[in-house]
Each structure stands twice: as C-alpha cells, then as structure tokens.
Symmetry: C2
Subunit: 143 residues, 2 copies
Amino acid sequence: MSLTPRQLSAITLGEALTLLAGVPLGRIVFTDHALPAVRPASHVVDEGQIVVRTHDGSPVLAHDTSAVPARGRDEDTVIAYQADSVDVGDRTGWSVVITGTATLVTDPARIARYADTLPPWTAAEGGLIRLRPGIVAGYRLVS
Amino acid sequence: MSLTPRQLSAITLGEALTLLAGVPLGRIVFTDHALPAVRPASHVVDEGQIVVRTHDGSPVLAHDTSAVPARGRDEDTVIAYQADSVDVGDRTGWSVVITGTATLVTDPARIARYADTLPPWTAAEGGLIRLRPGIVAGYRLVS
C-alpha cells in the first residue's frame, strides 16, 4: 500500500450527479432526536434530483416520526446524502455529499415508477425520499 | 439480481466492533452549522473505542471550528460513525452505526502511534478523533 499522500481535487455538481448515478448505494444523513443519524440507502438520480430509498423500516421524514426537520416541522427537512467509491489499495477514488431539502414521495404514479427503478431490498422499507440538491461537495483522491 | 426481499438481522456491540475492525473505511457523521454533515474517514478499533482520521482538511471537532457540539461547546461532541460492506449483486452484507461522544486525540504518544497504524491519506488531514461507543446499531442483510 503506497503511503504517498494523495491530493484532493474538487468536483462540480454535474460531475457529482454523474458519479452518484453510477453507483447504487449511499448513506442518508439526518438529525434524529438532535443526534446525528445515518443509514445505508439506495438511490437513483432522476431529473436532477436524488431519489432515495431506505431499507431498515425507520422513517427518516415521515411527519409522525422523531426526525427533527432542521427548518421546522412543517417545512422541508434538510438532509445530506453521501456516496463514495474508493480503491483502498491504491488510495484513489471519489466521495460526494449532497445537502438539500427532502420530501417524501407521495405521488402514486411516482411510487409505482420507483418500485421498478428503485426496488426495496427488504420488507422493512422506510420511505421513498426526493432530495433537491442545495450544497454539493465532492472530491477525487488523486495521486 | 434477485428481487427476493432480504431480512434484517440485528447485531451486537461486540459483533459490530469486530465487523468495523475488519474494514479500513467508514463515514463520520456530525452536525455543522446545524446541518447534517458527513465525510469519508478511515479508522481503527483500539481498546474498545474507534479512532477515526478524516482526510479532507475540515476539522470535525476542533474547538475553533464551526462544528456545533450537540451538548455544548465545552463538552464532548456527539458524532456517529458508519461503515458497511454490501454485495450489491447478492443484496447481502452488513451496516454498523456507532453513536457516541468524541474527543480530539491530543496526546503526542498516541498521535505518533496512530501515524503508523492509521496513516493520513492526504496532506489535508482534518483530525484524529477518539469515539467512545454509546448507541450501537447494526444489522446484516440476510436471505
């Protein structure tokens, strides 16, 4: 394993969405009872937004849940979504974090569409969330 | 790709630390300016605690940073650390989330030790953090 320090090279929003679209898994990051919380999730990039499905039965955004929206319970919730692809041996790869407002997907037509393109992995499905990108941060590890 | 729903099987603290110790990378989850924040990191499990090194130059816990400790600026900060290993084709694997109080590693002897066992990947190293496990949540995806 090389110990040569890597450089961080920032990536743009378009590049971030392209990289994100190329992997099936990420992690949804939110606030739960004022504590930082994170769960693995799967996603698709659709019309410039990120549609995320959680798999562990814990709703991240449901109105009757304990998740505390960062801007008040009646408004959209701010969440972050992170994905990466790293070659540990080579110490190269990328990481992307999208922070933005999220809403539950409630439209039956969209729910049906994502049942095909973004199927749940478990019976304990926690919710289908649409994330509108606000802050996009990403970098590549390059030698 | 099989579409058979998987089951979630909870794992214990000991099992979680063993799984975590078996992978080099995870993600550190914290609160920054009241927003959910996440960064890739590397870690070792040492004496039952998780030692985490960030790689992007943004301090997570430094006292002069913008990170907002969940329990007041002078006390330990609550963070979460997540790692997973998932076979996408098979839809099996595991995910672990450790939530607990974190402190910066400042002892020179420990810093020197972790320089060997947990070397920084980039010149833009953000900090060496010691996480005392509080809440441990983890599951396996099983068929």
